[in-house]
């Protein structure tokens, strides 16, 4: 059995309280090793006083293994309830791996957030990298003014007379540009490349000290880290149930209307009969109900067969599967998009 499925079974063992120490140790080790690369990557920019990368990994993972008085793991059981395990048992290994990584990375961001007072950026290292990148990129020029090193950027067409100029005095504007254009979470070369693109697009001149650019880079990364951690909390929060239910009903209605039209066109083109059209609609509705209730419970063929009792597996494979899978894939994307835009709306509303 491949790695991830084996890990999934270990989670199942924990939930059913049938694990042994060895299995638990293997699971913990697997999780620690899964997040170590991400921690090492972030370490190039931020160091936490007194904490080595493995401390951060162990701290992140240990929050999952807090026990209660019955010797069970409440946090872990919340994250991996039996319905999720069941769903992942029938899903691909990549799906489970993605889910696991998401959880761990979200928790890692939270750990950084909890330890934010102890973040100590490696200023010298970052400064060296800024200088190296600036010398490499033709968009920037490096000048010396007394004992200070200045970085300058001039837009390719000179920027015109009305173009804005950012200097030491108004360097907070540069921070705004960095934050508003999503330059957080980027390593120095990509950060400076994107910054140059934005300055070029907005016709902005730049002339600030390397030291100031370093401070802006660090501030941008700190903001990013905090925003990410807050977003992670946001992702974990429970939805406003009544508003969500109303929205969901409307989304389902909207989707059914859309599919009614699509399938009507298929009927017109003699691709399916009107009976089959109804069967597809009903099957999809059942599937959506199951999605709300924890996930798909049986193969798509069974959903359709419920409304087309004569349907044989061969018939499904050759004629119906492509349509069914197309409808399911689109429905999944439709709900995903709706959920994302609703979440963003809530985020903006500060809910």
């Amino acid at each position: 059995m491949a790695g991830e499925k084996r890990i999934l079974l270990k989670f199942l063992g924990i939930i059913n309280n049938t694990y042994n120490e060895k299995e638990l140790e293997e699971l913990i080790l697997f999780l620690v090793n899964l997040i170590m690369p991400a921690i090492r990557k972030s370490r190039a920019y931020f160091q936490l006083s007194n904490y080595e990368p493995q401390d951060i990994a162990l701290l992140t993972v240990s929050t999952l293994f807090v026990r209660d008085k019955n010797n069970r793991f409440p946090v872990l059981e919340r994250l991996f309830d039996w319905k999720k395990i069941e769903r992942f048992l029938s899903a691909s290994e990549n799906d489970f791996n993605r889910y696991l990584k998401n959880i761990l990375l979200r928790r890692l961001k939270q750990t950084f957030y909890y330890l934010r007072s102890e973040i100590r950026p490696e200023r010298n290292k970052i400064k060296r990298e800024i200088l190296y990148t600036i010398k490499k990129y033709q968009e920037y020029q490096l000048k010396r003014s007394g004992s200070r090193q200045l970085v300058s950027f001039v837009p390719s067409n000179g920027g015109g007379q009305n173009s804005e100029k950012i200097t030491e005095e108004n360097s907070d504007q540069l921070l705004s540009i960095c934050l508003n254009n999503g330059l957080g979470g980027l390593q120095v070369p990509k950060f400076l490349k994107k910054l140059a693109d934005n300055l070029e697009k907005n016709m902005v001149h730049l002339e600030i000290s390397v030291q100031q650019l370093l401070e802006i880079y660090i501030e941008t990364q700190k903001h990013y880290l905090q925003a990410e951690a807050q977003q992670a909390f946001h992702q974990e929060k429970r939805y406003n149930a009544s508003e969500f239910q109303t929205n969901l009903k409307n989304w389902i209605k909207e989707l059914q209307k859309k599919y009614d039209l699509i399938l009507a066109r298929y009927v017109e083109k003699d691709k399916i009969s009107s009976e089959e059209k109804e069967a597809y609609l009903q099957a999809l509705y059942d599937l959506i109900i199951d999605w709300q209730d924890g996930g798909q419970e049986k193969p798509l063929f069974n959903y359709l067969k419920k409304y087309l009792p004569e349907l044989s597996p061969e018939d499904y494979r050759f004629k119906k599967r492509r349509i069914m899978e197309y409808l399911v894939r689109n429905a999944r994307n439709y709900f995903k998009n709706k959920l994302e835009s609703w979440e963003n709306l809530n985020y903006l509303r500060g809910v």
């Binding site: 042994n20 120490e21 638990l24 140790e25 913990i28 080790l29 620690v32 090793n33 007194n50 904490y51 080595e52 493995q54 401390d55 990994a57 162990l58 701290l59 993972v61 240990s62 929050t63 293994f65 807090v66 026990r67 209660d68 008085k69 010797n71 409440p74 946090v75 939270q110 750990t111 957030y113 909890y114 330890l115 909390f233 946001h234 974990e236 929060k237 429970r238």
Partner: protein
């Protein structure tokens, strides 16, 4: 050199994984010894009181510490077949939320506020059992607004230490970061227990004296116990 360093790191990780999944190897350990109790002077008392001859609880074994300050009685519920341990001490800090370690068991047991713990249907040879206790080395009380706390009860070794607490709000409940400061470097905190309103208990394995715990939605008082 680099390889050795890498191996060392891997060993640290392995050690930590072992700590998380195995019973803690407490340093502050009190070993218990068998205690011979005198036969009851009133063997016929039950009959006189008209009770049935079936005793629901049968005392299996009694153990005591070397200085006789701790007494642990292990009883068997004859109906359910489960074993129960009752820990006694004159000071409540010494019998409440104490880890009981039974040799050969893959977990430690934590007593409740009354010094009791259900051991379940464990297969133990009670005539040869080896038992040790680990009482808390320090106890701190926290409220929702506390950021620093001094111990309500503390052992000599941890005297002078402080607990720093930081609450992080979440949509459902809160997260608590606790860190022990002012402690001597060689003191290794093996477990941290968080008792929420004297009912819910969470047990964490700290990393460098720091633990992060997810709290339930509503709580009033928190008690934090540290174990060496």
């Amino acid at each position: 050199m680099k390889m050795e360093f890498k191996k060392l790191k891997e060993k640290e990780i392995l050690d930590f994984c072992t700590q998380l999944c195995q019973p803690a190897n407490f340093e502050n350990k009190i070993i218990l010894f068998f205690r011979k109790s005198l036969p009851s002077p009133f063997p016929h008392l039950l009959g006189f009181e008209g009770l049935t001859s079936l005793e629901i609880y049968g005392e299996k074994v009694t153990l005591a510490s070397a200085d006789s300050s701790y007494l642990l009685r292990i009883l068997k519920n004859n109906i359910s077949g489960e074993l129960q341990a009752h820990l006694l001490h004159v000071q409540k800090e010494k019998y409440q939320y104490v880890f009981i370690c039974l040799d050969g068991q893959d977990k430690n047991y934590l007593t409740d506020a009354h010094g009791r713990v259900n051991l379940g249907k464990v297969d133990l040879d009670l005539s040869r059992i080896k038992v040790s206790l680990c009482p808390p080395s320090a106890i701190f009380d926290l409220t929702k607004t506390t950021s620093q706390a001094l111990p309500r009860f503390v052992s000599d070794k941890l005297n002078g230490s402080k607990l720093e607490a930081e609450f992080f709000p979440k949509e459902s409940g809160q997260t608590l970061k606790i860190q022990l400061t002012n402690r001597e470097k060689d003191i290794d905190i093996k477990r941290i227990t968080l008792i929420v309103d004297e009912s819910e208990i969470l047990i964490a394995v700290p990393q460098k004296g720091l633990a992060i715990l997810e709290l339930p939605e509503n709580f009033e008082n928190l008690q934090i116990n540290l174990y060496e």
